[in-house]
């Protein structure tokens, strides 16, 4: 199964909120992927094995996988577009 990661400062609160939400939205569309919340401090450990990275922060580095704007899932603004990017990355 393809894996998507969401990172925040503790890997607990914001990232899990977004992860739960994306997981639910994907499930509604019949897409199976694993969405995990991770600690931003350990991000580099997870990048390699994932298909997409949903960022809560403004990313500074370049990553080898697509980076998706996680704020959209919190504010609702532009969420559909960002969700499509996730779908493209995992299918």
């Amino acid at each position: 199964m393809k894996k998507v990661i969401v990172a925040c400062g503790s890997g607990v609160a914001t990232s899990q909120t977004v992860a739960s939400k994306v997981q639910k939205l994907l499930k509604e569309k019949g897409i199976y992927a694993q969405v995990d919340a991770v600690d931003i401090k350990s991000l580099n450990q997870y990048i390699k094995e994932s298909s997409a990275y949903i960022a809560i922060t403004q990313p500074k580095e370049k990553y080898p996988i697509p980076v998706i704007n996680g704020i959209a899932f919190l504010t609702g603004v532009g969420m559909e577009g960002e969700l499509q990017k996730v779908i493209d990355a995992v299918s």
């Binding site: 925040c8 400062g9 503790s10 890997g11 607990v12 609160a13 914001t14 990232s15 899990q16 909120t17 739960s20 939400k21 639910k24 919340a37 600690d39 931003i40 401090k41 350990s42 960022a55 809560i56 922060t57 403004q58 990313p59 500074k60 704020i71 919190l74 504010t75 609702g76 603004v77």
Partner: protein, 458 residues
């Protein structure tokens, strides 16, 4: 009436892992979740309590003997183990009245939006626990439930006011438009403000030449939970004068505890996500036409590496001060990454690393002392709610307790009903500082506006 009370007490006697899921299922059904979903969420919440209790127990069993050994060898009493924020959230949710904080936060926010007292819509319903935690601390000090709700409500109002006035600074720091943070830790900005003003008098506090991203790259490994847990475990073992074998065992055990805490805490989030999702969607729809700021939890600021460099630089200082400060009882552990000071410092200084470090160094004793003050309160709460088992003679606390000054002063302010004036006077001073900060940030925002205007002309 007696019967009702008996039923209520009977349910409470089950302990948090049973009665909180029952409340969760009930609340879920009230907001029209499907029974299957509500039940699943409730059960997840219950097992989160059980899991958290296991991890705290494991941590206490590993660290407490070393702390005792340290007392025997040196006479320095660091008997309050720092469990970090996750067990604090656990015992907050275990308060039987916890769920009432949802409607309180939402109602205050909606009313303030309607009467134009704020421009921020707080969709971060997870951090309702911060208000619950304030409330239970107030009850621990003065015993008054109604005053607990009042102090928590003031916190909701101040969070929104600060979110309004911090928005432009936060946008400059993150480059993310339209959002601000409503996290309670911003209340500490109010305390940092005068000290930052004093730093204005020192020339040369400009850090243009510091490459923060490079520093983060070099130091970042120390902030990873497992590595940091291992190192702190080793240090505690060395302080306790363990033999090398015991030191290494404690190191790995500590790494395990710090890695497991967030894993278990995620279960709380998973359980509460459907509920908070439904509520925040409802609130966004209600104000969809109006141009408002969306209030979020703090982590969208975590891209600013000044936060991580500051917290890592602070670690040795926190450990050193914990040993040296007379009267400190906190053994820093799971809460040693002090975001509760670094994030407000980032906002107040506008991302000036040198100032951030100076402010955070200055404030470290405040955090340690207030964590020491609250250790008996927090330990009693853990025992009363049955959420977390703590062995007799040991204490738990949180070395980087968020918004420590507000919680300390306002908890003691409610003691005015027991004839104590000290906290009440403190609360008036705190409100004065808040007004100073609010006006100061408004001025800063005007400056930002002018800069932007100039930028457009040029």
């Amino acid at each position: 009436m007696n019967l009702l009370e008996n039923i209520f007490n009977y349910i409470l006697d089950f302990g948090a892992p049973v009665f909180v899921p029952l409340i969760m299922i009930l609340v879920g059904l009230i907001v029209r979740m499907k029974f299957r979903e509500a039940f699943s969420a409730g059960l997840t919440l219950g097992l989160a309590f059980v899991g958290m209790n296991m991890v705290v127990g494991f941590m206490m069993n590993s660290i407490s003997p070393a702390a005792q050994q340290f007392v025997t060898n040196t006479g320095i009493e660091l008997t309050a183990i720092d469990a970090g924020w996750t067990p604090m959230a656990t015992l907050s949710w275990a308060w039987p009245l916890a769920f009432f904080m949802f409607p309180i936060q939402i109602t205050i926010n909606l009313i303030m939006l309607m009467i134009k007292q704020t421009n921020t819509l707080n969709v971060d319903l997870w951090n309702v626990w911060g208000k619950i935690f304030t409330a239970v601390l107030v009850i621990g000090v003065s015993g008054s439930v109604s005053l607990a709700f009042i102090v928590a409500s003031i916190q909701v109002i101040v969070e929104l006011k600060l979110a309004d006035v911090n928005k432009q600074q936060i946008e400059r720091l993150t480059q993310i438009p339209g959002v601000t943070t409503t996290h309670g830790m911003t209340l500490f900005c109010v305390i940092l403000w005068p000290f930052n003003k004093i730093l204005d008098l020192i020339p040369g506090l400009n850090d243009r030449h510091i490459d923060v991203d490079w520093l983060k790259e070099k130091l970042g490994i120390f902030a990873e939970n497992h590595v940091m847990g291992f190192i702190i475990g080793l240090l505690i073992g060395i302080f306790a004068q363990y033999n090398p074998q015991e030191i290494l065992i404690l190191g790995v055990q500590s790494a395990a505890a710090l890695t497991l805490f967030p894993m278990v805490a995620k279960l709380f989030m998973q359980a509460l996500a459907p509920l908070s999702d439904a509520v925040s969607e409802y609130m966004r729809r209600k104000f969809s036409g109006r141009d408002i700021y969306i209030g979020l939890d703090w982590p969208f600021l975590a891209g600013r590496n000044e936060i991580w460099v500051t917290t890592i630089v602070l670690i040795p200082l926190i450990l050193g001060l914990a040993v040296l400060l007379p009267g400190n009882m906190i053994l820093p552990f799971a809460g040693i990454i002090n975001l509760s000071v670094a994030v407000p410092a980032l906002i107040v200084t506008g991302g000036n690393l040198l100032r951030m470090i100076l402010l955070c160094v200055l404030m470290t004793p405040v955090f340690l002392y207030i964590a020491t003050f609250f250790a008996p309160t927090i330990t009693n709460l853990a025992k009363d709610t049955g959420a977390i088992d703590v062995a007799t003679g040991t204490f738990i606390s949180w070395s980087s307790l968020e918004l420590p000054v507000y919680r300390y002063i306002f908890a003691y302010a409610t003691d005015v009903i027991n004839g104590q004036m000290f906290g009440f006077i403190g609360a008036i001073v705190w409100i004065g500082l808040f007004v100073w900060y609010y006006k100061g940030m408004k001025k800063r925002n005007e400056r930002f506006d002018q800069e932007e205007k100039k930028g457009q002309v040029a």
